[in-house]
């Protein structure tokens, strides 16, 4: 187990190095640099600033400095656009906000997907199945800002009509996060519903379900102790990457609901060529993804005894 973990971590480090190298050079190939968005800047000032940030040096030297700072000192540097703010601080301040919202979204997505998938499979080729299929396509194909702004509008109208004071933005209370979390998890839920449905259909027709019936178990007992336990496995496979994607924040949802999460930094940094923030968020996201996938693989071993983590 220990050997397996070390091996997986080693592979993870190589993956992250590869991701950051590719991002680093792709980023520098994009025309312009962090200073090109500065207003009316004299050549002298520009030179001084370039020297201060170290972007006057040859690219490979910059790359070496980046590697050393990031992977040896764990220092992601200062942001170009938010002066005096370290990228480490940005992540430390904004990631927890996104993560809280994201975990809630994952909770809605998986519980909803397991429920809907089970209903669709149980009523295969009947109305509930077709309804869920239509909804799934809708949730996957309609962009999240449509649902987000629609939901927000609905809350505001509802408040106006009833005199209630339901929160429609911000992160002041737990309640205010429920609607954004549901919308954030919508696409994942739709996708997982399909997976749950097909996996459950396969399990329902397997021989050991027939064995369970022969034992005298009621349909309800069979569903909870035999079918669900076996069908949920493929769903867990997808959850790993989904957790990484959702908990690191969504630009659209966080902007619409004014949630100060990490999501906007991914987008703003690219727009403004903010080199340090781009690299910092990329390395962070990559490491997080590698870790969640590893965690899922370990959880797998507990859930499915046939999959044995190498000793």
């Amino acid at each position: 187990m220990k050997k397996y973990l070390l091996k997986r971590l080693w592979h993870g480090i190589i993956t992250i190095l590869f991701i950051s190298t590719a991002t680093f050079f792709a980023m520098h190939m994009v025309p312009g640099d962090p200073l090109s968005s500065e207003k009316a800047i004299t050549p002298e000032t520009r030179k001084a600033l370039e020297a201060e940030y170290g972007i006057d040096k040859p690219l490979f030297i910059q790359y070496g400095i980046f590697l050393k700072k990031t992977f040896i000192h764990g220092d992601l540097g200062f942001s170009y656009t938010n002066r005096n703010t370290k990228v480490n601080e940005i992540i430390a301040n904004h990631f927890p906000v996104s993560a809280k919202l994201g975990l809630l979204a994952i909770f809605f997505a998986t519980s909803g997907a397991i429920m809907w998938g089970a209903i669709a499979a149980k009523y295969r080729n009947k109305l509930p199945d077709y309804t869920s299929m239509v909804l799934v396509i809708l949730f996957i194909s309609v962009p999240s800002f449509v649902f987000a702004s629609g939901a927000q509008l609905l809350i505001v109208k509802l408040n106006a009509a009833t005199g209630w004071n339901l929160p429609y933005r911000g992160t002041d209370s737990f309640v205010s996060q429920i609607v954004p979390a549901m919308i954030l998890g919508l696409g994942t839920m739709a996708f997982l519903t399909r997976i749950m449905r097909s996996s459950l259909l396969e399990v329902i027709h397997s021989d050991y379900i027939r064995t369970a019936r022969a034992k005298g178990l009621s349909p309800k007992q069979i569903f909870f102790s035999h079918e669900l336990r076996n069908a949920v496995l493929p769903v867990i496979t997808i959850i790993g990457p989904a957790i990484a994607a959702i908990t690191t924040g969504s630009f659209v949802i966080e902007t619409i609901f004014t949630i100060p999460g990490l999501g906007k930094f991914f987008v703003q940094a690219v727009q403004q060529n903010d080199y340090t923030v781009i690299m910092g968020t990329t390395v962070f996201y990559g490491s997080f993804l590698v870790l969640t996938v590893l965690a899922v693989d370990i959880v797998y071993g507990f859930i499915d005894p046939r999959i044995q983590v190498e000793k």
């Binding site: 397997s206 021989d207 050991y208 027939r210 064995t211 369970a212 019936r213 022969a214 034992k215 005298g216 178990l217 009621s218 349909p219 309800k220 007992q221 102790s225 035999h226 336990r229 076996n230 859930i303 499915d304 005894p305 046939r306």
Partner: protein
């Protein structure tokens, strides 16, 4: 013990067509006997087993167990009650055990849903593991850690732990190696004697069925062709289909095998059960076929006490 009267099972296909997997089967199973059920693939053997276990609802007919008429379509309550009396051992020992449950959970589940105390279940599971030739330590392992023969033993233990009176063995050995087959057969015989079980033994290996059964029933396209004491059916078969089945079973002695008379039949595939059959189902392949065979269905006729054959030309053939 079990009285099957005119039982039919139709499976519906698309466009209103259907398959008659069982066509008016009547059969009696006596207490404490092993009744062998043979027939080629698609003859309806497993369907009959599953109908008896309540896993398929029957289309027509009635089944009486002891003095009770069994329901056509089992409710959850019927299952709970009747699965304590009638149990089934399944064909494929690989796919019929839940891969995510330990062997102990698989074997003990039949008891735990009947609210037996945890400790009693554990003791019983251990006792049954020993009875089927496994070790009590195996209770905490998972099915994939066992071989086919061991898994079939687990399947046997899980069926018998509720102490049923009547057990349907649906080709319990067809997925196993020959040497393991013998072990499982011996185990079944021993358990049958120890617990006074009544068995319906479904198989397509004739010599194995003769070895274990008291009586043999031959099924073809969902209809009974011949039924009688095992040795009678095996050595003095009266129905041309049974004769063909017997002669296609190779003898281990090459000399005898060469001398064994071959019975000429049309070796084409078994006709599809979805075709509407009038007359004798075997008519399309029978060497003795005549006009009446194609239009009239032969009744099961007594040829001596408890040996019955369904054929129009019994006198001519034999």
């Amino acid at each position: 013990m079990i009285e099957i009267k005119q039982v039919s099972k139709h499976f519906h296909l698309s466009k209103g067509r259907h398959i008659k997997a069982l066509d008016q089967v009547s059969l009696e199973i006596h207490p404490n006997e092993i009744l062998g059920l043979v027939g080629e693939s698609g003859s309806g053997k497993s369907t009959l087993g599953k109908v008896l276990a309540g896993l398929h609802p029957k289309t027509m007919g009635s089944i009486k167990y002891k003095d009770e008429t069994l329901p056509d379509n089992y409710s959850a309550k019927d299952f709970l009650r009747l699965s304590k009396e009638i149990q089934m051992i399944f064909q494929d020992p690989y796919s019929s055990l839940n891969p995510r449950m330990t062997v102990g959970e698989i074997i003990g589940e039949g008891l735990s849903l009947r609210k037996v105390a945890k400790k009693t279940i554990q003791e019983k599971v251990h006792a049954w593991l020993l009875k089927v030739g496994l070790h009590p330590d195996h209770a905490s392992r998972f099915p994939h850690e066992f071989s086919g023969g061991q898994r079939q033993r687990i399947g046997i233990a899980r069926a018998l732990i509720v102490e049923p009176k009547f057990v349907i063995c649906d080709e319990p050995i067809s997925a196993l190696d020959v040497s393991v087959q013998a072990q499982v057969i011996q185990l079944l015989q021993k358990l049958k004697n120890d617990f006074g079980l009544t068995l319906l033994f479904i198989a397509h290996d004739l010599s194995m069925v003769r070895h274990i059964s008291d009586r043999i029933t031959v099924l073809y396209l969902g209809q009974i062709m011949e039924i009688g004491p095992a040795d009678q059916v095996f050595f003095h078969a009266k129905h041309p289909y049974t004769q063909k089945l017997n002669s296609s079973n190779p003898l281990p002695d090459p000399k005898r095998e060469r001398e064994q008379p071959t019975i000429q039949v049309d070796n084409s595939e078994i006709p599809s059960p979805s075709e509407i059959l009038r007359g004798c189902p075997f008519a399309s392949r029978c060497p003795h076929v005549s006009q009446i065979c194609k239009t009239e269905r032969p009744e099961l006729k007594n040829i001596d006490n408890n040996h019955q054959v369904a054929c129009h030309h019994l006198d001519k053939i034999n």
